[in-house]
């Protein structure tokens, strides 16, 4: 039992980090219709911004804030300078997937060319471990869980209850009608990119804090798990992303505790595939409608 409970605790930590990023990923997809596989690179890049700040003595939590802003700006810039022109050029949904992959490759390897294939870590003590019954969590992990819970709640709440959030959801399902209601679609799309990028930044720093060492490609490697969580939850649904993150996080850790821990990711991915076979649209799929990717 205690193994189970402690594994559950670890699962929640993993889920927290996943949830931040998965919500960002899925939010952006649902509003803008771009399956952005460069998301992991934005995480990495923002994570490095935090690293550089951290190196000159900025507290890591402050650096996280800076990373959020930076991630947001990078996202907006990628959209305005690359994705939008390509979409206007008539590139279809599938073409956009390939373009986002290319952007991700360029970012990752550009960064790698600059920082080298080395390992980096933040200057931030994990803090003492706190025991709650069988849960063992450090201060840092608790902080990350709190941030994740707060952020996902804020995003979900904002989408659900604020006027802007409703506009964003409206834009996701029916852009023409949203415009007819007076929604300034361009700015709202930019905002969606910004929020998604900011979540990528925070998720990136949280991830890097958690794994303690990172390289120029860590974010992109983690992206697969993010996608798994998002797809499991139903692409386009922030609530689904949180649930998907929880499932993936808990399955990996609990599975790892009882089964071969090397295969814990495999277990989580298998759960995802089985769920999709039963519910092809994912757990929640309210925001996103079917989008044919290939021509």
């Amino acid at each position: 039992m205690s193994v189970f409970i402690s594994a559950l605790g670890f699962g929640v930590v993993t889920a927290a980090i996943l949830a931040i990023s998965a919500v960002g990923f899925t939010l952006q997809f649902s509003v803008t219709n771009v399956f952005n596989l460069a998301f992991g690179s934005v995480m990495t890049l923002s994570g490095f911004v935090a690293y550089w700040l951290n190196q000159v003595g900025v507290d890591i939590w402050l650096a996280m804030l800076a990373a959020a802003i930076c991630g947001g700006l990078i996202s907006v810039a990628i959209n305005e300078l690359l994705y939008e022109p390509f979409i206007r050029h008539g590139v279809n949904l599938f073409g956009m997937v390939i373009i986002t992959i290319s952007v991700g490759l360029i970012f990752d390897h550009g960064l790698q060319a600059v920082v080298g294939p080395s390992f980096f870590s933040y200057n931030a003590p994990a803090g003492k471990a706190l025991h709650f019954a069988d849960f063992v969590l450090t201060r840092q992990e608790l902080a990350i869980i709190a941030i994740a819970a707060a952020l996902t709640a804020v995003v979900q709440g904002a989408l659900q209850y604020t006027r802007l959030g409703k506009a964003m959801r409206g834009l996701a399902v029916n852009p023409a009608l949203a415009r007819a209601c007076g929604v300034p679609t361009r700015s709202v799309i930019a905002l969606a990119w910004f929020v998604s990028g900011a979540l990528a930044g925070i998720g990136g720093v949280a991830l890097f804090l958690d794994i303690s060492t990172f390289t120029a490609t860590t974010g992109s490697e983690f992206l697969i798990v993010i996608i798994a969580a998002a797809v499991l939850g139903g692409v386009g649904s922030p609530r689904g992303a949180v649930l998907g993150a929880l499932v993936v996080g808990v399955v990996t850790e609990v599975g790892g505790a009882y089964w071969n821990p090397q295969l814990k990711d495999v277990l989580a991915f298998s759960v995802m595939i089985v769920v999709l076979l039963v519910r092809p649209q994912g757990l929640f799929a309210q925001l996103a409608n079917e989008r044919a990717v290939a021509r």
Binding site: T14, G116, P117, S212, F222
Partner: protein
């Protein structure tokens, strides 16, 4: 074998192919290793051996009038990329006389290519596949990973631990020593309280750390790449105590230390870490010459001091010096000719002059004497499979330096390996 990660990138004056053309009259030694990908540390590590040798050899007037040049070539650490890169390298340089390369990641696919091309290759692979190789152009100075594993087990016994855990990455480098380490610990009648294999590069090992913490080992025998180690031990330190560590040369790599210091702190690391490494009397004359040359090579090697205790760098240094001396002994820079002289300049023989530097060896050869080069890693006793092998010692990091705390005797290692 050594593992991933590095801050230093080898820098040479010109690109691999260009160098061959630009410096006619020179002979070329290729650093054929991963400079990118997960094993990107291999390249700079070998560079830290090659460039000091280049400096010393050229300072001594070169080999038979030729200047020696080290040329980095990226194998990318995977066979599919390494094979064309090796073939291109062989094809495009007419004066390639030797290769430092073929780590555990690529050796089995590229060593045969150098064999075909009749170019001596000094490999750092730890794979047992080469223990009894028939490749005549293959040379290996350091013991294979299997021997490393046995040595780690012997170290656990010697340090007096009763409850030992094993923790290895699932990458090829770590898996080379894992089986013999575990079997050695068992053979020495120590209790294996946990035996874990980590899937490298995961974002969390909390479950594994929790299990490790529950097992309460006195020491963990471990080899894993920097990122995996750091993630695991940072999580272990969060759920419980980090016990003593019995590690391998990987832990002497700067990147590994950097990552682990980030994870558990410097003093915690230094108090716990026992590195089991090839024993070379690092106070030897050859070693001093090497470190001096290394520190002087900051143009080609970034942050040279980070490599001064790195055994692979040292072995690569010895490799280049050995090649150069063999060429002098053979009066030829032709790889096909001097290859046969490699054992001749390293094996102990009656009346042979023992030399510790290239300059001394060259001078002795010029006088028509037979020489035995005793390198920075110690004597290079190549067996008939061109494997030299080495002694092992336990080292600790004290006051900014690695210090030998005890040397493992051959008997102790035999007890662990059962051979």
């Amino acid at each position: 074998n050594s593992s991933a990660g590095s801050t230093g990138n080898a820098q040479s004056k010109s690109s691999g192919v260009k160098a061959a053309v630009a410096t006619t009259g020179s002979v070329e030694v290729a650093i054929f290793h991963a400079f990118s990908g997960p094993n990107a540390a291999y390249g700079p590590e070998a560079g830290a051996g090659c460039y000091p040798a280049e400096r010393l050899i050229n300072a001594a007037g070169g080999i038979l009038g030729h200047q020696l040049v080290c040329t980095p070539v990226d194998s990318k650490g995977d066979p599919a990329d390494a094979v064309p890169a090796a073939n291109r390298m062989i094809a495009s340089s007419s004066n390639l006389v030797g290769v430092l390369g073929g780590g555990s990641d690529t050796a089995t696919s590229v060593v045969p290519l150098f064999q075909q091309a009749k170019i001596p290759v000094f490999s750092t692979t730890g794979q047992s596949a080469f223990d009894k190789t028939k490749d005549t152009y293959f040379w290996r100075i350091l013991s294979p990973d299997a021997a490393q594993g046995s040595a780690m087990a012997a170290a656990a016994k010697k340090l007096g631990f009763k409850r030992v855990a094993a923790l290895f990455g699932n990458d090829s480098a770590a898996q080379g020593s894992a089986p013999t380490a575990v079997s050695g610990v068992k053979r020495l009648r120590l209790k294996v309280v946990a035996n874990q294999t980590l899937a490298v590069g995961q974002t969390s090992y909390r479950s594994e750390a929790q299990a490790m913490s529950t097992a309460k080992p006195q020491a963990i025998v471990s080899e894993a790449d920097p990122q995996t180690s750091a993630t695991f031990f940072s999580e272990l330190s969060q759920v419980g105590q980090v016990p003593k560590l019995i590690t391998d040369p990987v832990s002497q790599e700067p990147t590994w230390r950097k990552a682990m210091i980030g994870a558990i702190g410097k003093s915690a690391l230094d108090q716990r870490d026992y590195a089991v490494v090839a024993y070379s009397p690092m106070t030897s004359q050859a070693y001093k010459v090497y470190t001096a040359a290394l520190l002087a090579s900051s143009k080609q090697v970034s942050k040279p001091s980070q490599w001064d205790a790195d055994l692979y760098s040292v072995a690569d240094y010895d490799s280049v010096i050995t090649m150069a001396l063999a060429m002098d002994a053979a009066h030829s820079t032709k790889p096909g000719v001097y290859n046969a002289y490699i054992t001749k300049v390293t094996s102990p023989a009656h009346g042979a002059t023992v030399v510790h530097t290239y300059a001394a060896g060259k001078a002795a050869l010029a006088k028509g004497k037979r020489i035995q080069y005793v390198g920075a890693v110690g004597p290079l006793a190549f067996n008939r499979y061109h494997n030299a092998g080495n002694q092992f010692a336990i080292e600790q990091f004290v006051n900014g330096n690695w210090k030998v705390s005890s040397v493992l005797s051959a008997a102790e290692i035999r007890a662990a390996s059962g051979l």
